[in-house]
Symmetry: C2
Subunit: 214 residues, 2 copies
Amino acid sequence: MIRLVLADDQALVRDGLKLLLELEPDIMVAGIAENGLQALNMAKQHKPDIVLMDLNMPEMNGAEATRAILKELPNTKILVLTTYTTDQWINDALNAGAQGFLLKDTPREDLIRAVKGTVEGKNFLDPQIAGSLLKNREQFSNEAPSWLNELNDRELAVLKCLAQGLNNQQIAASLFLSEGTVRNYVSSLLAKLEVQDRTQAAILGVKSGLGNSK
Amino acid sequence: MIRLVLADDQALVRDGLKLLLELEPDIMVAGIAENGLQALNMAKQHKPDIVLMDLNMPEMNGAEATRAILKELPNTKILVLTTYTTDQWINDALNAGAQGFLLKDTPREDLIRAVKGTVEGKNFLDPQIAGSLLKNREQFSNEAPSWLNELNDRELAVLKCLAQGLNNQQIAASLFLSEGTVRNYVSSLLAKLEVQDRTQAAILGVKSGLGNSK
DNA sequence: CCAAACTGATGACAAATGTCATGATTCTAG
DNA sequence: CTAGAATCATGACATTTGTCATCAGTTTGG
């Protein structure tokens, strides 16, 4: 049995969704909220498996509420239901840690599938919304980190350090090398990456996902 | 009428998909390929609206084929059909520019919907695959770039340049300032961001999404 | 065994970077 | 009007960075 909290500022939508969801035998609407603040309180009170969250709400918007709920109850799943794909808060909600995004014109069967799937850890993204995610991604992860192969272990280690913003002295300490040696590795690194200086190398590293994993 | 090219190395899958797709009156299977190379040729020959692409294929895998096709025919949509969510090539295909990702156990109706939606520019991501995208995103876009408010226009402009890897001279040229002035702005920037050098500032900038938009 | 590659190191040098003090304009609020 | 901002600029200076030539062990493949 899936326990669910519903948050939307429009009464009609709330009531409609409630009916729609309770047609499903293994879904139980544990609480209904009219704004983000109520959603947070409902979540704390009922500890639901999943929260269906509207974005545009008074008091506390969906993104803020998502962040607040996840801070208290990190295992709760948040499925965002929004009206417009251009909603400026989609990005916020994404960052706040929402697990899924649906448009309100999603057919009932899809909504039910998304609710159940989200509880199981899947991530449902409406096709109209997914585009921005894909584009965003392109900005960051480079198409072909082909140079990863050209770099030897040391150079790769140095690049990781660069991507973390260390200077030569810190890198030397970190890798137990002399500073001069580090300078040499940085130098050959720059040549292989075909960049002009450590900053450009660091940017490449960050964009390729280095610099996060120690 | 949607013209479609199908690429999969398994005969059964090819035949099954062909039958399944042609049940739909407004979809026409223009070509069938057994590997990536054939897919590329088929695409060049038939100029389809969309290519259904398997990832694991001999000769040229799906990701490479995707990249090759998009290079020649940038308006073609590529919908990837894969068997496993852990497929190591998913990332490659994503970077190669595929517009959608489905698992092969997707029901027929969803497949049809995805094909039509993808042609219309939507992005269908299987819920099991979308997760990695969301996680990836978390690494990069910082939740609260609070310092963004503390920076004035010039400093922000300089930070953008830093995030693009420009040196002081290039920044000066770009913003029509003297190099010395740029050095001053960089200096105050570093203080406000509480970092030690331009590399660390650039990393912050990149992680916050600057450095992409001019 | 020997050449080649790899790894780590030094010193010297030019260029880029970061910090500071200081000035000149211009704009704005009291 | 005037003090104080914001903006742009200089020059001087110490430090960091990047490049190069060179050297010395160690490993490895032929």
